[in-house]
């Protein structure tokens, strides 16, 4: 443990409270600014050169070492980084220099974020010492007391024991946090595989959550359609397609690694030139670079578009009736399951024979989606004629109040065109990729004895009124099997849904490598109001490397280590045909008093009396070796730990992925895990649940608060129609994934802030009518909050829609500092960082109880 | 207006004023060559000595936009290609020759022919300085707002306008000082002779021979004007009024032509053109227009009718014109720099 730092670079006595951090920024800049400065600094540090070499062997102190490391954030990719280390300091971040440009063995070039990691590791916001909220101050007032590790862990353990005695283990909650999900010993997601989960599992368990903020709605939609999670064909398989159609799929911004889906989709397009249509409210980079054509669509109306497309296909006989008859349930009356009422098939819905009595004509959809009816007809014919057609969806369409249905509708389009399970086709889900069979003995060795599970988005409700929450009113579920982090709606012997309830509210929130306490959940101002009531949640602990927004609202802050300060194993992600994995080596000593989360949990386990169970008798390094050893048991061709550590990245070409090919080949022998074994366009279970589900219990029932058996279009609160007709908030606000951050990670890196400004995208027409010019400061506001940021007046977002890149670090300013516009809610501060979650709602989607992030209406005025 | 443009605004305007002043003096001397030499020299030499400090100030300010002054001597290395090198060479040469000429004038050293030759060389160097200054901007083909005939025209009109007005202003100040001195002499005649021929052995302070020489020269300069001197002054003023108002009108006429040209240009040119629209631009036009009117009508007429003993109002008016013109040119030059928009990215 490093306890001494040179006063001129890192004054440890200044560590802690934020103003001193700011003051040290210039000194840090000097420390990382130039190699000359570094040599001086490092010499004074007396740090050893560290780690195994990525390219050359470690030599004299002045010779740089090249150490394999990785970027471990939640971007859906996984990049190796070669850190150039001189005298114990990272001086350069270099890309992968192995592999080729050929898919299957591709070089995994880190994106702009990974390449800026030096300024994330040496960031003025780095947490330095454990901190405790000063007694007598409120959460978020940012009054901190620097304390020792012993004091911090003693007090946290004591409080945990008290909570356990008062409420039991169900009162403990691990909050969603994906900042280091691409690691093994430092893993922050899935929550049940994190070090703190292992610790709680040795101590009686905790309340787990299902799904995640990326995919809540689609995750809950899957079981009622395909029976469970199914990907679409991998992007390299698009070479076999006649046409590629992407609904809100944006690999060039949401899978940015130069070895991941960005490269796979671009190289495939480069070589095979398959025509690509992008359906998205925003002219994304994918639309601009990969796409041949862009179809702008109003947010939240994908199910309406699909209905009209199918209306045209059915009327013109272009759909694949044979596929629907053989593999699906409920498209037509004759494939409806037993007990389904008459005219409840999708076909009846299209023809207007269902309860709404409206035919889903292109004209009907044009009004909703904003796409001209002729364009819809054209699109239907083109999609139907392309055999096969690769239809995929990103996760934007489903992150809505009606997102479960949008997700199912896009699945349905792939089914009705007969593209499922064939090369060049797809399931209408998101693209898949190959992977290595990584074992995770440390992460999965001890399971959670608690069998209840809530939605990832319900934790604030569970803090506020957990003891009143149950299946019908709040989506509290059972686990699909003991110890499995997956939900199922409990059912009785007849298969009817039954109710399971929470007994106690959440009393402790553990947030590790995540920013979901405030910033990444939704309704920042509303969240803070709940969290500031200490009679509700009694203990919030944040373990991170940066002083994040969430850390501001903690009771205790524990400074963790970055990937550069640890050795770890990083399974590859989303590289099309290539399966790979990275073994990293510690490049530098932990900064300040930072400690790896494993060590923190060991010391907590000691205090809770479960150290032996927690460590399993192994050191951190031994767990890493055990991980590779177990992985090699599944695939002996993989390198051993030491070999892998030396080579950094190991890769294997496994070819394209075609999910559901076996089902397609023989549906009887390979049934889906649905009640019917088939694809369920009409879901009996949803029908049954719709009769039990209660809305309006904890918050007002709003339009769209309903379950429906079919993947039909449901108009919701703050949906396109309500927004269009609103005088007060006539603009739909969505929050696209941003090139300059991964969610909120890297959000405080100066190089990235310089490269990618946080701006509110607003269409030229909407800007003109408000007197806004490109680069102007604007307020975006609704009743939940107000943000102030720079306007990007652009043709690249459709009229009526504003897109604010999600993940900026909420920075509330009192009205005395920044006066909100007259029309805005005067009770809220102005967030000058432009965090889109200052505007979003905590009202959950109907089925998933998920975050409806892109169902938000607001107005914009010049600042 | 950008703060970092300030050194360049001051540098170009002040050096152009210096060049204009020097040349104006030369022209006056040329036109007055049939007159009594002493009269002419008495009228114009004080002005000459004001040019030096102004030029030194201008050159000093120009150093502010050099960000590493320790490397400053490198700036002349590229004289065969860079107009910036040439500008500096001309600037230094103009300063050196001008200073040399002033020294000779002051001490009456050197032959008249030598002094005239040096004066002509200095004037040519001054024109070279203004020309190379204009070329510094004109030669940037990547800046449409600068790569235009308007830039040399504007730089030379600045030179002329401020040059003649500086001469006029300095002349009138000198005339006022001399008038005061004359009034004082009248009140206390016993002092008068000693002023004209100050004995060298009357040092008011230490400083040795040179200081004594300088002090006696100052007394000489400040000696009361003669009638002939005043006549010459008045005639020169009339000329200044004509030349100055023509220069000011030229400035006003150039703008619409220049902006019309920019308006026809590419996106960068259009962006530049937009700079010439705000308060600063209108203020610049009003000040310059006012200068033209004051010079053309009031100064010209008053120069004809004013008596030397009652020249205070005329002096104030000339100085006001100088002030208006200087502020107008500073604003105009600031706009010149603000208009910098380059093609490309």
């Amino acid at each position: 443990m490093l306890t001494e730092k040179p006063a001129d670079s890192v004054p440890i006595e200044d560590a802690g409270p934020l103003d001193s951090t700011r003051r040290t920024f210039l000194k840090w800049s000097a420390a990382v600014g130039g190699s000359a400065a570094l040599v001086t600094t490092a010499a004074e540090l007396g740090l050893p050169a560290f780690g195994s070499a990525a390219a050359t062997t470690t030599a004299a102190a002045t010779e740089p070492a090249y150490v394999w490391s990785a970027c471990t954030v939640n971007c859906g990719s996984r990049c190796p980084l070669r850190l150039q280390v001189e005298d114990g300091t990272i001086t350069r971040v270099l890309p992968d220099n192995t592999g080729t440009d050929k898919l299957g063995s591709q070089q995994v070039r880190a994106c702009v974020r990974g390449r800026s990691i030096r300024h994330r590791v040496y960031n003025p916001d780095r947490l330095k010492k454990p901190m405790k909220r000063k007694s007598g101050t409120k959460r978020g007032e940012e009054q901190w007391e620097t304390i020792s590790w012993d004091q911090a862990l003693d007090e946290i353990a004591a409080k945990m024991k008290q909570i356990k005695a008062d409420y039991g283990n169900e009162a403990f909650y691990i909050n969603y946090g994906t900042g280091t999900l691409g690691a093994t010993m430092a893993k922050s997601w899935p929550p049940d595989q994190t070090p703190f989960a292992r610790l709680l599992n040795t101590w009686g368990g905790y309340l787990d959550h299902y799904s995640d903020y990326s995919t809540t709605e689609i995750t809950s939609a899957y079981p009622y359609f395909y029976g469970g999670w199914v990907d679409s064909n991998s992007f390299d398989d698009v070479k076999n397609s006649q046409l590629q159609v992407m609904f809100g799929n944006n690999p060039l911004e949401t899978r940015m690694s130069g070895g991941g889906q960005l490269l796979v989709s671009q190289q495939t397009k480069r070589r095979h030139g398959v025509r690509t249509i992008i359906i998205d409210p925003r002219y994304s980079e994918t639309a601009a670079v990969l796409g041949d054509e862009w179809v702008p669509i109003r947010p939240g109306t994908d199910a309406a578009l699909v209905a009209a497309l199918l209306y045209v296909m059915v009327h013109e006989g272009l759909h694949d009736q044979r596929f629907l008859d053989k593999y699906c349930v409920g498209f037509d009356e004759h494939t409806l399951p037993d007990g389904a009422p008459r005219h409840s098939s999708y076909h009846s819905y299209l023809e207007g024979k269902g309860s709404d009595g409206v035919a889903k004509t292109p004209d009907w959809a044009a009004d909703l989606t904003g796409i001209p009816a002729d364009r819809i007809r054209q699109l239907a014919r083109e999609i139907a004629a392309a055999k096969p057609c690769a239809i995929t969806q990103g996760w934007g369409p489903q992150r809505h109040a009606n997102g479960e249905n949008s997700a199912r509708a896009i699945f349905l389009l792939a089914c009705a065109t007969g593209n499922v399970g064939v090369p060049g086709g797809g399931t209408g889900a998101r693209e898949s990729a190959q992977g290595l069979p990584f074992a995770a003995p440390f992460n999965t060795g001890i399971t959670n004895p608690s069998n209840k599970i809530i939605s990832v988005f319900s934790w604030l409700d569970a803090i506020d009124h957990g003891e009143q929450m149950n299946t019908f009113n709040a989506g509290v579920c059972e686990k699909s099997a003991p110890g499995v982090r997956d939900n199922k709606v409990p059912v009785d012997d007849q298969g009817n849904p039954t109710n399971v309830a929470l007994e106690v509210p959440i009393k402790m929130v553990w947030q590790y490598a995540g920013n979901s306490v405030v910033n990444q959940t939704g309704d920042n101002n509303g969240s803070i109001a709940i969290l500031q009531d200490e009679s509700k949640c009694e203990l919030i602990v944040v373990c991170d490397i940066q002083y994040t927004v969430s850390a501001r609202y903690a009771d205790y802050i524990l400074p963790g280590t970055s990937a550069a300060e640890e050795s770890d194993i990083h399974p590859g992600e989303n590289a099309g045909p290539m399966a790979y994995g990275i073994v990293s080596t510690q490049a530098i000593e932990p900064l300040y008093e930072c400690r790896p989360v494993y060590d923190i949990c060991v010391d907590l386990a000691k205090r809770l009396g479960t150290e032996r169970e927690f460590t399993g008798g192994k050191t951190r390094e031994e767990w890493l070796r055990a991980t590779i050893k177990e992985t090699r048991a599944a695939d002996p061709t993989l390198p051993d730990y030491d070999e892998w550590k030396q080579m950094g990245i190991y890769r294997k070409d496994l070819g394209p992925v075609v999910p559901l090919a076996e089902f397609r080949a023989d549906p009887k022998a390979n049934p889906l895990p649905t009640p019917s074994g088939k694809i369920e366009i009409y879901s009996n279970r949803l029908q049954a649940m719709s009769e039990k589900w209660e809305f309006g219990v904890f918050r007002p029932k709003l339009a769209g608060d309903q379950l429906v058996a079919l993947p039909e279009y449901v108009e919701t609160w703050e949906g396109p129609l309500e927004t269009r007709d609103s005088e007060k908030f006539p603009l739909q606000v969505i929050g696209h994934h941003f090139k300059g951050r991964t969610h909120s990670t890297y959000g405080n890196v100066d190089w990235l802030k310089e490269a990618h400004h946080q701006t509110a995208w607003i269409n030229t027409l909407d800007a003109q009518s408000r007197g806004i010019e490109n680069g102007d400061q604007v307020f975006v506001y609704n009743d939940r909050g107000t943000v102030k940021l720079e306007a990007r007046v652009t043709e690249r977002v459709m009229p009526g829609v504003v897109s604010i890149p999600q993940g900026a670090w909420y920075d509330p300013q009192d009205s005395s500092e920044v006066t909100p516009p007259a029309e805005a809610n005067p009770d809220h501060p102005v967030d000058i960082a432009g965090s889109v979650n200052t505007l979003t709602s905590l009202h959950p989607s109907a089925l998933a109880k998920g975050n409806p992030s892109h169902t938000t209406s607001a107005n914009v005025v010049k600042g | 207006m950008n703060l970092h443009d300030v050194p360049m605004v001051l540098f170009t305007v002040v050096t152009q004023m210096s060049v204009g002043t020097f040349i104006a003096l030369g022209v006056i001397q040329l036109l007055a060559r049939h007159r009594d030499l002493t009269t002419t020299e008495r009228v114009i030499s004080p002005v000459l000595y004001a040019v030096g400090p102004a030029l030194v100030f201008g050159l000093a300010v120009s150093m502010l936009h050099m960000n590493d002054v320790t490397h400053v001597f490198n700036v002349i290395r590229h004289w065969d290609s860079s107009w910036l090198s040439r500008e500096i060479l001309f600037g230094v040469a103009f300063g050196a020759f001008g200073f040399g000429f002033a020294l000779l004038e002051w001490f009456g050293a050197g032959s008249r022919a030598l002094r005239q030759t040096i004066a002509i060389v200095t004037a040519v160097l001054g024109i070279g300085l203004v020309w190379s200054q204009a070329m510094v901007y004109y030669s940037l083909v990547t800046v449409p707002a600068w790569h235009t005939w308007a830039v040399p025209v504007q730089f030379f009109t600045t030179t002329v306008l401020l040059g003649v007005l500086a001469v006029g202003g300095a002349m009138m100040v000198t005339a006022q000082v001399r008038a005061k001195r004359a009034a004082a002499d009248l009140a206390d005649p016993s002092e008068a002779p000693s002023d004209v021929a100050a004995p060298p052995e009357q040092p008011a302070g230490s400083g040795g021979g040179l200081a004594v020489l300088v002090r006696s020269r100052i007394r000489e300069i400040n000696a009361p004007s003669t009638g002939a001197e005043w006549t010459l002054t008045a005639r020169v003023l009339k000329g200044i009024a004509v030349v100055g108002s023509v220069a000011a009108i030229t400035i006003l006429v150039v703008y619409p032509l220049y902006l019309g040209q920019l308006g026809q240009g590419d996106a960068a040119a259009q962006t530049s053109a937009a700079v010439f629209s705000g308060t600063m631009f209108w203020l610049r036009l009003v000040l310059t227009g006012l200068t033209a009117v004051l010079l053309g009508f009031f100064v010209y007429r008053m120069a004809e009718s004013t008596m030397p003993t009652r020249s205070r109002l005329l002096a104030d008016l000339v100085l006001l014109c100088l002030l208006l013109a200087v502020v107008g040119e500073l604003l105009g030059r600031a706009l010149h720099y603000s208009a910098m928009t380059r093609v490309g990215m």
């Binding site: 994106c111 601009a288 009229p799 | 700036v75 090198s85 990547t142 490309g344 990215m345």
Partner: protein, 221 residues
């Protein structure tokens, strides 16, 4: 497609005299991610505000509305730009100190000992290649990673590009392979400096003299 040059490649042939090195930019693949820009900043320890490589977004077009439906006619493409190590480097021409110099291999660099920091080259260069470093008081710019090339490595930006949209090499070879397009808006008339640059244009690319769009991110470049 850039060839793979590993960290161990011996130093051969990457700083050859008269090679007249330049960049190839595949605009059709650029996503505006700016990995090149940040890799350059990391490589050269550039302070904030100094960007030897920058990426401009060029956008334009219009929307037509009919009732509640809309139809776009819009375009966007990116231009990643460092120094083009031009045949007629205007920066060298205007530099009063001769600090702006050219290596035998055709690449343009700043001789630090001479530069006076007058920023005249910054005014002149239509690609914003010379960038002023306030910390040193000197101009700085891309030298095509001379030190890396001396070690047989590729320039940092080229090795960084996730989309493989950047390459470099002797300009004759680049032109033979990719053609000679170098005048796509927002770039200027290439005849001004004759850049050692070859662009594979985006499908919506507009010629410099027939451009209808605008730089959408002026504050970022």
């Amino acid at each position: 497609m850039p060839t793979q040059k590993s960290h161990e490649t011996p130093a051969v042939g990457l700083t050859e005299s008269d090679a007249d090195y330049g960049f190839f930019f595949d605009q059709s693949q650029c996503t505006g991610c700016k990995a090149c820009q940040v890799a350059c900043i990391d490589k050269h320890d550039l302070p904030l505000g100094v960007m030897w490589r920058r990426v401009a977004e060029y956008s334009g077009g219009s929307w037509s509305q009919s009732g509640n439906t809309v139809m776009p006619n819009v375009f966007t493409y990116y231009t990643s730009m460092a120094c083009n190590h031009c045949e007629d480097p205007i920066c060298m021409k205007v530099c009063p100190t001769t600090a702006m110099s050219q290596r035998p291999d055709g690449t343009v660099y700043v001789e630090n000992d001479k530069c006076v920091g007058c920023r005249y080259c910054e005014w002149a260069c239509p690609y914003s290649a010379p960038q002023f470093n306030a910390e040193t008081g000197h101009m700085t710019k891309c030298d095509l990673c001379f030190d890396y090339r001396s070690e047989g490595l590729e320039p940092a930006c080229v090795a960084a590009c996730p989309s493989r949209a950047l390459d470099w090499g002797p300009i004759d070879e680049l032109r033979a392979e990719h053609g000679d397009e170098d005048g796509i808006a927002p770039l200027p008339d290439p005849s001004i400096t004759k850049p050692h640059l070859v662009i594979e244009p985006h499908r919506d690319a507009q010629q410099w003299d027939h451009a209808t769009g605008h730089i959408a991110n002026p504050e970022e470049i």
